[in-house]
Amino acid sequence: MSNNTQTTESTMLSRFQVGEVLLAPLVIRSCVILGGPKDKGDARLEVGMPDRGEVFPFVVETKSRGTPQNIQLAMVQAKAAAQEGEWPMIQVPYLSPERILELEKAEVSGVDLCGNGVVVVPGLLWVVRVGSPNRFRDSRPLSNPYRGRSALVARMLLKQPHWQTLSELAASITSAGGELSLPQVSKAVQALTEDLMVSKESGAIQLRDPLRLLDKLGGEWKKPRQFWKRPDSAGRSIKVQVPSPYLSRQSLRLPKGIDWIQALSSAPELRWTISGESSVNRYAMFAQGGPQRIVVSDIVQALAKLGGTPEPVPSFADIELLESEDPGAFFDQETDANGVRWAGKLQTWLELQAGDARQQEAAKEIREQILKEVQQ
C-alpha cells in the first residue's frame, strides 16, 4: 500500500462497512478486509440492492492514486484475485467518466471516494454514476506534463517516439531550445508513464499513444494561463491570468526599409519566432491576410530594436508583436536561409487547433502529418 497526501489505501478500505452505501443505491451486505501476505486483493465485499435479498460478491483492489497506469494495474490485479463466482472491482480516490467507460468495457467494477463508479455483473447488474467532482487532487511530483516547460518532453516524444536513454532525450530537448534539467525530464517522463502515454523498459523510453498525447497538449493549449507580469515602476510583480497564450501584443508599422529580421536577431538575449499562426504556409495550404505575427520573449526590447509606430488597426500593421513566456513558443523552431525563424510544426498545430474554423481545418492537415511522421 502506498501513501498519498490526501488519503491512504487503509483509510479508503475503512469506509467498507456493512450497511453503508457503496455506490447508490447499492449497499454493502458483508465485508472482509484482507491484508495477509498471501492475500490477493484488498477486500471481499457482498453488495446488493437495499430492498432485495440477492447479493453479488466482489474482490476489491484499492489504489490511493488514480493514475491511468494505477487503474490499469488495479484492474489486472482485481481480475487475478477474483475467485470462482466473484467479480473484480477496483477502488481509487477519483474516477473520471473516461476511466469509468474503460472499466465498463472491461467488465470490471470500480468505485471512487467522490460518488462516481460503475458496478457491473454482466447480465444481472449494472449501476453507473458519473459527474461528481474530484475532491482528491493528484499529489504526484509533477502534476501536469502537458503544460509549460514540462510539455517540452511530450513535444520531443512526438518528434521522435523512441529514446534509448533519458539523457539522450534531455540533450535533444536542450538542443531544440528547451531549458529543462535531467530531473525535470525524468519527472515528466514518469508522469507520462503513469498516464500510459509512454512506457519505459530497461531505461529506454517509448511513446505509446501519440494520438491521445496530441489531444492532451492541444487541450492544455486552449486553457487560460498564468504569467508573472513584468515588474511595475515600484518593482512589484503580480501573477495574472490571461485568456490567451500571450502576455501582451502590439501592432506596429515598421520604419521604411528596415530589415526587421536583422534588427530582432541583433539582440542575442531576445528570443523571437514567427508565430505558429503565421507559419502555417510552411506546413499546409492556407491563405490568410493580415500582418505577420512574431512572438518575442521581451516586447519592450523588441520594440526598442525595431522602432516604428504603434498601429491601432491590426490589419494595417506591418507586423504584430506577441510577448510570450511560454518556452514552447520558441521550441524546435526552424530557421530558413534568410534567417527567418519559423514556428515548428507542433507549435503551429497547437495554435491553429485553438483558432477559428478555417485554422482548425488547416490544423487537421498538420495533425495528420505529425501522426504520420511519429508512426514511421
Binding site: G289, G290, P312, V313, P314, S315, F316, R358
Partner: protein
C-alpha cells in the same frame, strides 16, 4: 477571380445609370448610402487580399445587401455647372426615372412591375456663403440662376461636408465608382442613426413610428460599423487631413458627440444593439477606429 456570387438585383437598374452619369466625368458624383456600401463590399469580396479594418471573412454577417434607394452626393461644382445639369438630367430620364412630385428635382423614381419602385436621390452639402453660383432654398441646393425644368436640385445634406475630399475610387465590372471618404461617410451615417434613435424614443410618437425608427436607427448604426470595417489602409492614412479640414464644423462635432455618447462604451445603445453582429475583437477594432477619428473633439 472571386468565387462569391453576389446577387445584385439593383445592378440592371442602377448600373447603366451610374455608368452613364460617370461617363466623361472625373469625380463630382459619389455613391453614398446603402448602395455605396454594397458596391464597396462587392468590390472587396473580389479583392480579399486588400487589408481593411476588419476583414470581411471575419464579419458575422457578411452578406452584401442591396437597397431600393440610390443616394448620390453631387459636388457643388457640378450643381453650378449648367452643362452638367443637362447631362445629369438627360441621363436620369434616359434610364426611365421621373421627377418625384413631392420632392421635385432632387428625387427621381422609376416604377417597376407589381407596384414596386426604385428611387434616386441627389444630395449636396451646404454651399459656402460666398458661393454666388448656388443658392439654398429650404431643403434644396440650387443653381443660381435657376435652369428651371432643364436643371436639377440637390437635397441639402449638411452632414455631407468634406465629400469632395479624398473620395475613394474603385472599379466594379469595369465601372469606376467613387464613394465618400470615411470621415464624411461616418458623419452622414452617425447623424442618421442618432436622428432615428431620438425619434424611436420620442414619447409623443405612435408606437408603429417608434418601432420603424428604431429599426432604421439600428440599420444606420450597423452601416457605420460596416463602413468603418471596410476602410483600407490608404483611406485610413488619409483621414488626418480630412479631420483637420472638418474638425471645427458643427456636423463633425455632433458626430464626435454621437460616438462618445452612443458607441464608445458597452452600455450605450449603439454598442448594445450592434454587439451581436460582430465578434468582440472585430467590434473593439471598429469602435477604436471611430474613437481615433473623433477623439477629443466632443
Amino acid at each position: 477571380m472571386s468565387l462569391i456570387t453576389i446577387q445584385d438585383e439593383m445592378r440592371p437598374l442602377f448600373g447603366p445609370l451610374l455608368a452613364d452619369l460617370f461617363q466623361g466625368r472625373d469625380g463630382g458624383i459619389l455613391v453614398a448610402g446603402g448602395y455605396g456600401l454594397f458596391l464597396k463590399q462587392s468590390w472587396l469580396l473580389q479583392n480579399p487580399d486588400l487589408p481593411i479594418v476588419v476583414p470581411i471573412s471575419q464579419w458575422r454577417d457578411n452578406t452584401p445587401r442591396v437597397t431600393k434607394d440610390l443616394d448620390l452626393v453631387v459636388g457643388l461644382d457640378v450643381i453650378s455647372d449648367a452643362a452638367a445639369h443637362a447631362q445629369v438630367l438627360q441621363t436620369i430620364k434616359k434610364h426611365g426615372f421621373k421627377v418625384s412630385e413631392i420632392n421635385a428635382r432632387w428625387q427621381f423614381t422609376k416604377e417597376l412591375p407589381q407596384a414596386r419602385k426604385v428611387i434616386v436621390e441627389l444630395h449636396a452639402p451646404f454651399p459656402p456663403e460666398d458661393d454666388s453660383g448656388l443658392v439654398v432654398d429650404g431643403r434644396r441646393v440650387k443653381r443660381k440662376p435657376s435652369l428651371g425644368e432643364r436643371g436639377f436640385h440637390a437635397r441639402t445634406n449638411p452632414e455631407a461636408i468634406g465629400s469632395a475630399l479624398n473620395p475613394f475610387r474603385f472599379q466594379v465590372d469595369g465601372m469606376t465608382v467613387l464613394v465618400p471618404n470615411p470621415i464624411t461617410w461616418s458623419i452622414m451615417k452617425l447623424t442618421a442613426a442618432d436622428d432615428r434613435w431620438k425619434s424611436a424614443n420620442h414619447p409623443d410618437k405612435p408606437e408603429e413610428f417608434r418601432s420603424f425608427s428604431r429599426a432604421q436607427a439600428i440599420k444606420h448604426a450597423q452601416d457605420v460599423c460596416r463602413m468603418v470595417a471596410m476602410v483600407n489602409r490608404d483611406e485610413n492614412d488619409a483621414t488626418p487631413s480630412v479631420i483637420e479640414a472638418l474638425k471645427a464644423k458643427p456636423e463633425f462635432q455632433r458626430a464626435a458627440l454621437i460616438v462618445a455618447e452612443s458607441f464608445a462604451n458597452d452600455d450605450q445603445w449603439a454598442s448594445q444593439v450592434l454587439s451581436e453582429y460582430w465578434s468582440d475583437e472585430s467590434f473593439a477594432v471598429v469602435r477604436s477606429t471611430l474613437r481615433t477619428w473623433f477623439a477629443n473633439i466632443a
